[in-house]
Amino acid sequence: MPSATLLGQALISGVLAGGMYGLLALGLSLSWGLLRLVNLSYFALAFLAAYLTYELGTTYHVEPWWSAVLIVPSMVAIGVVQYWVFDKFKVNELASLLITFSFAVILEVVIQLYWTADYRRFETHYSTLSIKAGPFYIPVLELVLCLVAGALAWGTWLWLRKTYVGKALRASAEDADIAAAYGVDHKKLAYLLSGISAGYAGVAGTFIALIATLAPAQIWAWLGVVFAVVIIGRLGNPLGALFAGMAIGASESLAMAVMSPAWAPVVSFSVLIVILLWDPDWL
């Protein structure tokens, strides 16, 4: 049995790594839950954003935070264009999965053509910074990621709960015709949400560039676990996605510390299956 310090460190690292799951899950959860569009391309968009951050950082020495100012709005624009396509071709839930998967594969190829399949690492002086809290080390970048993910998830949750636009989106997801009968222009709101969701992929991409080693095939590395996170966190619930991400991250990390790294994926999918079979009220 590993020591308490090791377990504590595993828990901290797990929760922080889970912040990335949560951040990546945000857009998928919103789009799936509120627009009934399962948008897999967010994984590829996040990596596109990461590669762009890498490129701007290594070639032009642009600070990643400034790159984000440029890249995130571009992702929003891509999200808006995507919704235009979904709307024009009346894409349904299943078709959206296939179309966005195809789009992601195309993006993967484009990324590979430009940046090759080599591993890329964006070295910054932040990447090794960490705070020491008692016996534990907290990596600063991951902490910032979690704070940003938390702020976005919390803000989005409040937006959906407290504003008329947010309530209209939730109502429209339940019964679009009746929401329209009360004046909700679903299409207009869907463009907005589609843009926001893609924008979150852009934010995730900035952190991927700083934290991860980039390779085109890595686009799919998080697909499975983020899917589990989206479902466990409840579709359309941004705070749920964040907490589920952190819970999965923590359990994976503990499983790795107690058993072996190979057990990590077993944990997340076991949790998913148990929760789906259990089917609790809050799901």
């Binding site: 309530k167 009968a181 004046g183």
Partner: protein
């Protein structure tokens, strides 16, 4: 006339469900449309609410040609629907359902007064305002559905089978509320299978059978017709 429908043809796919229907509702009137199950009552009221496009004919509301109006703009003209089966947003709270009723800016400006009015009509909803709409009883859900419509500060309220599935005592309450909605200034178009109640509250009525209007007039006169007595009252 506030609402004028002229020779409306409405249908799903290739099969029209409502043929050549004309009806009128004046300001301050309660107009009932009665008819058996499957006569096309819900189809008709959904078309008037903008949920369903009519294929032919003319629909005018306060002079505006509604064929040119987008479905989500019907509400802005002052049309509010209490749909069949309530169709509440069941994963949202009672108050959120009501607030959806005043989504449009003009209605939103009256949010506080409208909410007070709805809670005045249905005090139980004030106690349940943070509960999920899906957790309420059928009668309470109907109250939310009516409340949501009133929050839109409508000029006409369309009621689709408001008594369906409710206990008899609650049905009486619902019809009192319908009369009150009219007394407060909105016109009412009511579609009902409960003929006695629908005729009791109405100023005028239409009989819809197999997608066509077969009779129209004052409720008292209609109830004297042998066909209607036989088909709807069983006497």
């Amino acid at each position: 006339m506030l609402l004028e429908a002229r020779h409306l043809h409405i249908g799903y796919g290739d099969a029209p469900a409502v043929w050549d229907v004309s009806l009128e509702v004046g300001a301050g009137e309660i107009v009932s449309v009665i008819g058996p199950n499957g006569a096309g009552k819900t189809t008709l009221i959904n078309a008037i609410a903008g949920l369903l496009r009519f294929r032919q004919g003319e629909l005018r509301f306060d002079g505006a040609d509604m064929a040119r109006v987008k479905p989500h703009d019907y509400c802005a003209h002052g049309i509010a629907l209490v749909p069949e089966g309530r169709r509440l947003f069941v994963k949202m709270s009672v108050e959120e359902n009501l607030e959806l009723g005043c989504y449009l800016p003009a209605a939103r400006a009256a949010h506080d007064q409208s909410l007070e009015r709805v809670y005045g009509l249905f005090p139980i909803l004030r106690d349940k305002r943070f509960q999920l709409a899906g957790e309420l009883s059928g009668g309470q859900q109907q109250m939310v559905a009516i409340g949501r419509a009133l929050m839109a500060t409508p000029r006409i309220v369309l009621f689709d089978e408001p008594s369906l599935g409710l206990a008899p005592t609650i049905v009486d309450d619902m019809f009192e509320i319908i009369a009150k909605v009219r007394d407060d200034g909105a016109a009412v178009l009511l579609v009902e299978q409960n003929v006695v109640k629908a005729m009791g509250v109405a100023d005028r009525a239409y009989v819809l059978e197999q997608g066509r209007i077969v009779a129209a007039g004052l409720p008292g006169d209609l109830l004297k017709q042998p066909h209607i007595r036989e088909a709807y009252l069983g006497v």
